[in-house]
């Protein structure tokens, strides 16, 4: 057994780990070393595939043993050599001295057991107390989580609680057995910003109060800046940089860390090009600049002129049926979009900001005709959208959030990109393929990759394909429904750059829907903030986002973790 110094909670030394499946070996960790002292809050930052979650799961040996191999290295937790512990000993450790919080609050709790049962299970397993004491302890823990009505939550099933509430329960469970260490794996990624702020504060507060060490795994540098004393930066299974958070962020040493920081839209000049990780790594050479191959298409993008707004929503309202009568008629409605008024001029970007369920996606769907308006009007080029002919309506195109679901997995890229062109016409295969190559070049993809299937592309590349498809019909207005929220920060920077380039070149107008205030700040000219189906505040981006008037906008702005604010606080 390796014994660490008494003040060390975790010591990982030169750990390598590979996944083995059907003869394929994938190296997930390539010799990492991490130390966490008692009561310390340490962050591990990295993008997807960096090995950060594997690191956390391996501390409790939660990875399937048959499918992982550890060629070398050691993991010592509170003096236990976890790599050589039996399953029985590990069960003592798990949830007792070390506990864990996961990303997905919606699925991390057992749906058929009450919160009560799940908490008592853990407490009675690890602590020598009577059930009634455990009951009282659970309620106290829930109260500590600033839950208004602990008794109700305690007796609820998970599905009766909101995401934020479930995550509070998870944290309460994690603290229930007085652990020395909590592993938090992206604990707030799935939550809305305002909820995220509360949860992070709670986590920090409880950890401080109980002297528990926390290992926080996240992709968000700002979250780390807000919470952690020290940070490790991971890239492709290695730790490329470590040190006190403040030093790492203000004076990054490694090229990757610098790239990651530069890729963040936060604090950069609006509409400026963001540096991308790949570009920085290839020493400043822009690897994915928009090619000039597609340039002769430019003239096809006609200008409309600035006199009237390109697009306007007047009291737009969307309702969904909520309840049906005996005869199947809807008798009660849910108002998703409530009398929304926005205006968008040509060549500009209007961002709609709001948290999940605020109605922003319903609004986008109504513009492209996927859901009908209950009342109000959508005007395009000064005329009711519904009165335009098909060809004009096609000047409005959409790019969806999820690049997995937005491309038909069975279609090659050239068919996907040119599908809109086949409507009502039947161009030859060669014409379509040529156009697809051109579009590929336009969005920064290899023009020779048009025979590939979507699964051969990464998330960012798929999003480019989706943008290419939208561009194929020479749109005037693009609806971008959270186009970067499923992507890593560095890829997000690439896509934002691409969007800005395209706007510049083709004088496109964007209706940009997002929950991410930093991104919106970077790309938008105008902003409308939506809350519960209503636009609570709108205006110039700069005005709204830096000097908000409405209380909700202020809450939203305060909740967004930023590097800047983290340092002011620290």
């Amino acid at each position: 057994m390796t014994t660490g110094a008494p003040h060390t909670v975790v010591r990982i030394e030169n750990l390598a780990l590979s996944f083995v499946s059907q003869g394929d070996i994938v190296d997930a960790l390539k010799g990492i070393s991490i130390d966490i002292g008692a009561g310390e809050i340490v962050g591990v930052v990295g993008e997807s595939g960096s090995g950060k979650s594997v690191t956390a799961l391996n501390i409790l040996r939660l990875l399937p043993r048959g499918k992982t191999k550890i060629p070398h290295g050691s993991v010592s937790v509170l003096g236990h050599d976890v790599l050589n512990m039996s399953e029985k000993e590990l069960q003592q450790l798990r949830g007792g001295e070390v506990s864990m919080i996961f990303q997905e609050p919606m699925t991390a709790l057992n749906p058929v057991l009450q919160v009560r049962e799940q908490m008592l299970d853990v407490i009675l397993r690890h602590r020598k107390i009577t059930p009634s004491e455990a009951e009282k302890l659970s309620l106290d823990l829930l109260a500590d989580m600033k839950i208004q009505d602990p008794a109700r939550v305690y007796n609820s099933y998970p599905h009766e609680l909101s995401g934020g509430m479930r995550q509070r329960v998870m944290i309460a469970m994690a603290f229930s057995c007085q652990p020395k260490l909590i592993l938090a794996d992206e604990p707030t990624t799935a939550l809305d910003v305002t909820v995220q702020a509360q949860i992070l504060n709670l986590l920090k507060e409880r950890a401080r109060a109980t002297g528990t060490a926390v290992l926080l795994i996240t992709h968000d540098l700002a979250v780390v800046a807000q919470l952690c004393n020290r940070v490790y930066v991971m890239y492709k299974g290695k730790i490329v940089e470590q040190g006190p958070t403040r030093d790492v962020i203000s004076k990054p040493q490694h090229a990757y860390t610098r790239a990651l920081l530069n890729a963040l839209p936060e604090g950069k000049k609006p509409k400026s090009r963001l540096e991308t990780v790949a570009a920085t790594m290839i020493e400043g050479k822009a690897a994915e600049a928009v090619s000039t191959v597609g340039m002769h298409s430019v003239q096809k993008f006609e200008r409309f002129g600035r006199a009237t707004p390109l697009f306007e929503a007047v009291n737009a309202t969307v309702r969904y049926p909520k309840k049906y009568s005996f005869f199947g008629r809807p008798i009660a409605f849910q108002t998703a979009v409530d009398a929304v008024n926005v205006t968008l001029h040509e060549g500009q970007t209007l961002a709609i900001v709001g948290e999940s369920g605020c109605g922003k996606t319903s609004f986008a769907n109504s513009i492209v005709g996927l859901v009908p308006l209950a009342s109000g009007e959508l005007r395009y080029k000064g005329k009711n959208l519904a009165e335009h002919d098909e060809a004009t309506r096609r000047e409005i195109q959409i790019v969806f959030q999820d690049p997995q679901s937005s491309l038909d997995p069975r279609w090659p890229v050239w068919r996907i990109m040119t599908e809109p062109l086949t409507v009502g016409k039947s161009p030859s295969r060669k014409e379509l393929r040529d156009t697809a190559s051109e579009l590929c070049a336009m969005v920064g993809l290899d023009p020779f990759a048009i025979d590939r299937l979507p699964h051969e592309f990464s998330g960012g590349q798929r999003q480019r394909i989706a943008i290419g498809r939208a561009l194929s019909v020479h749109p005037r207005l693009l609806l971008l429904d959270e186009p970067t929220s499923a992507l890593d920060v560095s890829v997000q920077a690439q896509i934002l750059n691409l969007l800005l380039d395209l706007q510049d070149k083709f004088h496109l107008s964007y209706l940009f829907i997002s929950h991410n205030v930093a991104v919106v700040k970077h790309i938008a000219d105008h902003v409308a903030v939506m809350y519960m189906g209503k636009v609570v505040e709108s205006g110039e981006a700069d005005q709204v986002l830096t000097r908000p008037n409405h209380a909700y906008t202020r809450t939203l702005m305060d909740a967004v973790p930023t590097l800047e604010r983290a340092f002011v606080a620290a």
């Binding site: 490694h254 492209v368 409005i396 409507v423």
Partner: protein, 309 residues
């Protein structure tokens, strides 16, 4: 962390290039091709057995050693292997091997035809119901629910008796009663595909409903249709032989597995092989088609993983 910079620079550069623009490398493409996935032992066994059954069914006439209808009263109840009867003879001295092959032909033809009818009815209704909300969906779903909430065998027994004996009535009965599973699967899968963003994108681009149906949705449910077709084939084999066994499917005297089983009941003590031959034939055929279904399911799961995830 200086060591990470200098020597790894080239590798990182290469990785970055790869990530940005994948070269259209033919070796890489071959490695990812579907060929690799098809080599599963289970599937090889399944298709070997299946091919054997198909060959028996198609070339049965030439593989039979005797006339399946013609008995030799001097050679009744011959045990397997005796007097030139590979699998023995029955109470009328007819060759069980030849009768089993004839039964195979009957069963395969019956199940195949019925299954095809099922496939067409079920997937058409499933697509109609999935495509759009409205009266068509309501009617189709109500109709399917009604049919499903009544035991299939009871319905089949009644209808077959009323429609009459013989190949065609039997096939039509099974064909028009047993399509529910196809409707369910197509409805579920098509509904989920209709929710995907790429279908929304096509709709926004103005692609017609029919075109979306045939270019996005149908290819999307195709893999599941193969799987259901295989498993359902086994179910129809069982249903057909059950009806024949009850004496209401195939006409009496026609060599089918069900009839053979029914005939064997009086001679369980005297000639157990009369039971074992048709029973073995049914079990073998059903297991083979189940294996094929399982294999296809595994294959499409594997491919689905590389495509959809």
């Amino acid at each position: 962390m200086a060591e990470a910079q200098a020597p790894k620079g080239a590798a990182i550069l290469q990785e970055a290039k790869d990530a940005l623009v994948n070269p259209n490398n033919p070796v890489e493409r071959l490695r990812r091709s579907r060929l690799k996935d098809i080599t599963s032992l289970e599937l090889i066994v399944a298709f070997t057995l299946f091919t054997a059954l198909v060959i028996l069914a198609v070339f049965g006439q030439w593989l039979q050693t005797h006339d399946p209808m013609q008995g030799d009263l001097m050679a009744r109840f011959a045990p397997p292997g005796e007097k030139g009867y590979i699998l023995g003879s029955d109470h009328l001295g007819r060759d069980l091997w030849s009768r089993a092959v004839a039964g195979l032909q009957w069963s395969m033809a019956c199940a195949l035809t019925a299954n095809t009818i099922n496939l067409f009815i079920g997937s058409t209704l499933g697509l109609i119901a999935a495509e759009k909300e409205g009266w068509a969906r309501t009617i189709v779903r109500q109709f399917t629910d009604t049919l499903q909430s009544f035991p299939f065998l009871v319905a089949a027994i009644i209808v077959v008796v009323i429609v009459g004996h013989g190949f065609l009535p039997l096939v039509l009965t099974l064909g028009f009663l047993a399509w529910v599973v196809f409707m369910r699967v197509v409805y579920a899968e098509a509904s989920s595909i209709f929710q995907r963003d790429y279908v929304k994108a096509a709709r926004i681009a103005g692609v017609s409903r029919l075109s979306i149906m045939f270019q996005h949705v149908l290819p999307g449910v195709r893999a599941s249709l193969f799987v259901v077709f295989a498993f359902h084939f086994a179910g129809l084999l069982i249903a057909e032989s059950a009806l024949s066994f009850l004496g209401i499917g195939a006409p009496l005297g026609v060599p089918t597995w069900g009839n053979m089983l029914a005939e064997s009941r009086q001679y369980l003590l005297k000639a157990p092989w009369m039971l074992m031959v048709p029973a073995g034939a049914i079990v073998l055929a059903v297991i083979t088609t189940n294996l094929v279904g399982d294999g296809i399911a595994g294959l499409s799961r594997k491919r689905g993983r590389s495509i959809d995830v």
